[in-house]
């Protein structure tokens, strides 16, 4: 499988990554090479095989629903690039 430059641009948009023109070309080649390798799993007949998502099967892990100490708001906000009134602040998403 070989990716086109526009497919790489589409993936980068989905992943929210700004790429330079040089990066776009480099990733086109590198991702195509990796995809060509991983496609060997297509050789296997997997029709009757169930998927495995985790190493050790565990189902319905539950715990008591009790109030526990949580982070102090000041600690939670400490690393944010911008805060206002005890909240994370960023640009407007919807214009008025």
């Amino acid at each position: 499988m070989s990716l086109s430059e526009s497919e790489v641009a589409r993936i980068a948009h989905l992943a929210r990554l700004a790429l330079t023109e040089a990066e776009l070309v480099a990733y086109q080649n590198q991702l195509s090479a990796v995809l060509a390798h991983v496609e060997m799993i297509g050789q296997l007949d997997l029709r009757d095989v169930l998927p495995t998502t985790h190493a050790v099967r565990r189902e319905n892990v539950v715990r008591d629903d009790v109030v526990r100490p949580s982070l102090d708001p000041a600690d939670a906000l400490f690393n944010a690039p911008e805060t206002a009134e005890g909240q994370f602040r960023l640009q407007a998403i919807l214009e008025e």
Binding site: A18, Q30, L31, A33, H37, T52, H54, A55, V61
Partner: protein
């Protein structure tokens, strides 16, 4: 007494006997970091003041006669494990300056047991890599040969222990990131069964594969560190509730009757001749010690790498969506919110971007079934391979890595060749088992070679004891890096 040359186990004895103090060995480690880490560059952050405070507190506990497997022992943590008040970057510019408001589970466990934190070690960015060259800060060098990589992604932790700048260290192993650097640096590295150690407070790369893993200079050192960090944690729902055995007590050195499987698939093309020979000799030694050997097959081994490079990037692309410049890390302001996200996330390094895009593609509409869905089915086949093998044998013996440490820059421009460095380790991450690497020889250039011993689910004690028996019969682990 050269304090830095002691193993963790020897140091613990010396501390209990009052022959030295935690403050003295901590200062010796800090002095050695100053003396040699400009060349090795294993640490991103050295927590010298904190270390000396913790050491003084440990000395007070030692004076009261307290004992833990690591009381007063200076250790290092991979910079992907959160430490309250100490910068934690995951080797990335996108977390530059990030100061976690809480300690990871393992950080708490180590502190409670009285270990001394020397600092945070270098890593490939978000643990993505096999050489530590993908760190956004600087590459780490191998204490055995400064022109070569220490392996990765936990290369900083490996280089710190091999360079005698820590008595033991924690890394994380998602596809071999502890076993492969252990192999490159003449250390013991144990990747426990998934869920044996809580991942709470560890910066996530691939959540179904990540596992915190100890490095030591000996098997007993590794067992001591695992003893402290293993166990159930209700905050990690994937953490296993099974009781933790006494790992050090399991080190009897008696392996009479142990059945060892040797899979042909791990001795194929691309295996360096010196590695093949050393691993073959190690298996002979295990037989001389009373084990039996049989040829086994893990037929889906060739499909592990492709499955891994779909599953791990897919999980990474989801995990790394959180780096959006809102809650932590720098923000690069763009024309609108979407542009701000894109410009901020451009701070990721090339390998991280590559894997995010690979994962995004594997999960995208129209490709999900063909890539991610199929890879999960291959994971089932790999688990079946191991289950069939462990019905016949107790431990599987293989090389840890196809080659010894490569030179800096040698594979940096060819992602696929870098990925092949983990071809023998990553099947364990896809499986339900555990794996350990330990020293088993040197190549013609004097570079360390690792023997990998793979065990079934929660068979850490079996694997550790097999490794211990071999270690007691050989002297490879006594060779110290020439720095």
């Amino acid at each position: 007494m050269d304090l830095s040359a002691l193993t963790l186990t020897e140091l613990r004895r010396a501390l209990r006997a009052g022959e030295t103090t935690s403050v003295a060995v901590t200062q010796a480690m800090l002095d050695r970091i100053v003396a040699v880490d400009n060349d090795v560059r294993s640490y991103l952050t050295v927590t010298d003041e904190l270390a000396l405070e913790q050491a003084a507190a440990a000395d007070a506990r030692l004076a009261r006669g307290e004992e833990t497997p690591v009381l007063g022992v200076p250790v290092a943590l991979k910079d992907i494990i959160c430490t309250a008040g100490v910068e934690t970057t995951a080797g990335s510019k996108i977390l530059e300056g990030y100061t976690p408001p809480y300690d990871a589970f393992v950080t708490r466990r180590l502190a409670a047991a009285g270990a001394v934190l020397l600092g945070k070690t270098n890593t490939d960015e978000f643990a993505m890599g096999s050489s530590t060259e993908n760190s956004a800060y600087f590459p780490t060098r191998n204490p055995w040969d400064l022109d070569r990589v220490p392996g990765g992604s936990s290369g900083g932790s490996a280089a710190a222990v091999a360079g005698r700048m820590a008595y033991a260290a924690l890394g994380t192993d998602t596809g071999g990131s502890v076993r492969q650097p252990a192999s490159f640096c003449n250390l013991v590295g144990l990747r426990p069964t998934y869920g044996r150690v809580s991942r709470w407070g560890v910066i996530a790369f691939a959540s179904s594969l990540d596992q915190i893993s100890p490095f030591g200079r000996t098997v007993a050192d590794c067992a001591a560190l695992l003893q402290v960090v293993a166990g159930h944690d209700p905050r990690d729902s994937t953490s296993l509730p099974e009781p933790v055995p006494d790992y050090e007590a399991a080190l009897t050195g008696d392996i009479a009757g142990l059945r060892i499987g040797v899979p042909a698939e791990y001795f194929g093309e691309g295996l360096q001749p010196a590695v093949r020979e050393a691993v073959g000799n190690a298996i002979d030694e295990l037989v001389a010690l009373g084990a039996s050997v049989e040829a086994i097959s893990l037929p889906h081994t060739p499909y592990a790498l492709p499955a891994y490079y779909l599953i791990a990037p897919a999980e990474a692309s989801a995990n790394l969506a959180r780096y959006d410049g809102v809650r932590f890390g720098p923000r690069v302001v763009g024309a609108d919110v979407i542009d701000t996200l894109k410009q901020t996330r451009a701070l990721f390094g090339p390998e991280v971007k590559r894997r995010i895009m690979l994962g995004t593609y594997a999960l995208s509409a129209g490709y999900y079934d063909a890539y991610y869905g199929q890879a999960l089915k291959v994971r089932t086949l790999i688990q079946r391979d191991f289950a069939a093998a462990f019905a016949r044998v107790d431990v599987i013996a293989t090389p840890t890595s196809p080659t010894t440490a490569f030179r800096l820059g040698e594979r940096a421009d060819d992602p696929l060749s870098m990925y092949l460095a983990d071809i023998y380790t990553l099947p364990v991450n896809l499986s339900a088992g555990c794996g350990l690497s330990l020293p088993c020889g040197f190549d013609e250039a004097g570079l360390p070679i690792g023997l990998q011993l793979i065990g079934d689910t929660l068979a850490e004690a079996t694997v550790l004891n097999a490794a211990y028996a071999y270690e007691q019969a050989t002297a490879w682990h006594r060779h110290l890096a020439p720095i």
